[in-house]
Subunit: 262 residues, 2 copies
């Protein structure tokens, strides 16, 4: 059994892990839909988004390993950390909703929230002082634009659809929306990234994110949820009860057979 | 709950269902690896192959629905048939191997067997008298070529790798190989396709398939398995005990929410 790796806690590494892990864990959740989407076309779309996100995670984690300087590659970072060393926002670790593989309304709403965030983030990261990160962002921003448009279309279709689809979308909003606040709660990691030019404070993206989401919700005839005081803490390594299950699924093969070679 | 659809049993429809279903069910099995492959790069490769296969299945089933003439679309064909109306070769419905999500050696060996077959089939189908099928084949043959090369590389790497990887590959050969015979067992469906120019008798592909597989096994330093008298029957709708579980997974959402709209 492969032991866990310890990860450097410098602020630049943490900033990159927050990006890479948020993409990685959302990809896991989307991957659960493979073979289960309501129509084949959507099965393909969700799997494509999962693939894009794994690709982004792989690029960012590989770069994080390089700047961390401890010789960890992207697979060690993806598969061999302890739960508290994963720095994804809690939003993406929430289950897809009730049932297996989950609730489609929740899935597309969360995708819209995450993709809107990622598109804004990648747009800014194209100007990163870190040339490698800027290059990753230039590719990823195109993918995020598609993810945002595709998922926003579904939010509108379901929100403004049947009574049942609307009921599900309202329930999804109740569940997912409170987890948005964490994305924009700045701390020392954001301050350091802003100071070095590595990337923006995520809080700087809040106004644009809210206005773009408000536009989608208006078109879907869905009420904008009220703000709450709840603040999730995945970016600091303190995760929901769902995270352990995701990691158990993700890690068992890599831990049993490190490097994929028996 | 959405009821099952009945599918026309004309020979041309059956020929197309055998192709589309074999791609569809293999895609389901590959999709089970999403998030679980030994390294991120391979996770992406398996998911890409699953996507290609779903795309091929969607195109072929859509076309089968059109020529069947009962107004069934590809989603109804993919999700609303009874088990006996699925016409995939049994090989692709076998589980990925012991454990979850399965055994990587079995997975890559089956992929090599299936992709070698599909590449030969798509190559021939480019000359189909059915222009739509020929167009599908022209795109699919490029995808199958990549699948074949990628999976053959893994067969060699594992067969000629460590003692443990070789042991697993030998076990995978014992399990998977006897299911190849079904691919090449011609019947009235093949005769009709050959007569109309729709496509080749699958048995015509056998010699090339055996020689290409023999080459890979030789490079992997693996013994070519002996022929057996076992003949599986999935192409005729008589499936292994594993098929019901796959369909339960695939169908529950579509049956509960037909058309993906609540």
């Amino acid at each position: 059994m492969q032991p866990s790796i310890a990860v450097a806690d410098d602020l630049a590494t943490q900033y990159l892990l927050r990006i890479g892990d948020t993409a990685l864990i959302l990809a896991q959740r989307l991957g659960e839909w493979t073979g289960h989407a309501p129509v084949l076309e959507e099965d393909i779309a969700l799997a494509n988004m999962a693939l894009d996100l794994v690709g982004q995670a792989r690029a960012v984690l590989s770069h994080a390993g390089a700047i961390e300087g401890a010789g960890h590659d992207e697979d060690q970072l993806a598969f061999l950390r302890e739960e508290r060393d994963y720095r994804n926002a809690t939003l993406v670790e929430l289950p897809n909703g009730d049932g297996r593989p989950g609730d489609f309304a929740f899935t597309v709403l969360r995708n819209a929230m995450a993709a809107t965030f990622f598109r804004l983030l990648w747009t800014r990261l194209q100007a990163s002082s870190d040339a490698e990160l800027a290059a990753i962002a230039a590719k990823a921003v195109k993918e995020a634009r598609y993810h945002q448009e595709h998922s926003a279309d579904w939010v509108v279709r379901l929100g403004d659809g049947t009574a049942e689809s609307r009921r599900r979308m309202l329930a999804a909003l109740d569940t997912a929306w409170p987890y948005a606040a964490e994305l924009f709660a700045d701390d020392a990691v954001d301050e350091a990234a802003a100071a070095s030019g590595l990337g923006p404070r995520w809080g700087e993206l809040r106004a644009d994110w809210e206005s773009q989401m408000a536009e989608v919700l208006a078109e879907a005839d869905l009420p904008a949820p009220a703000a709450s005081r709840f603040l999730s803490t995945g970016k600091r390594g303190v995760h929901s009860e769902h995270m352990g299950y995701i990691l158990a699924e993700m890690q068992h093969l890599q831990r049993a057979y490190p490097g994929g070679v028996w």
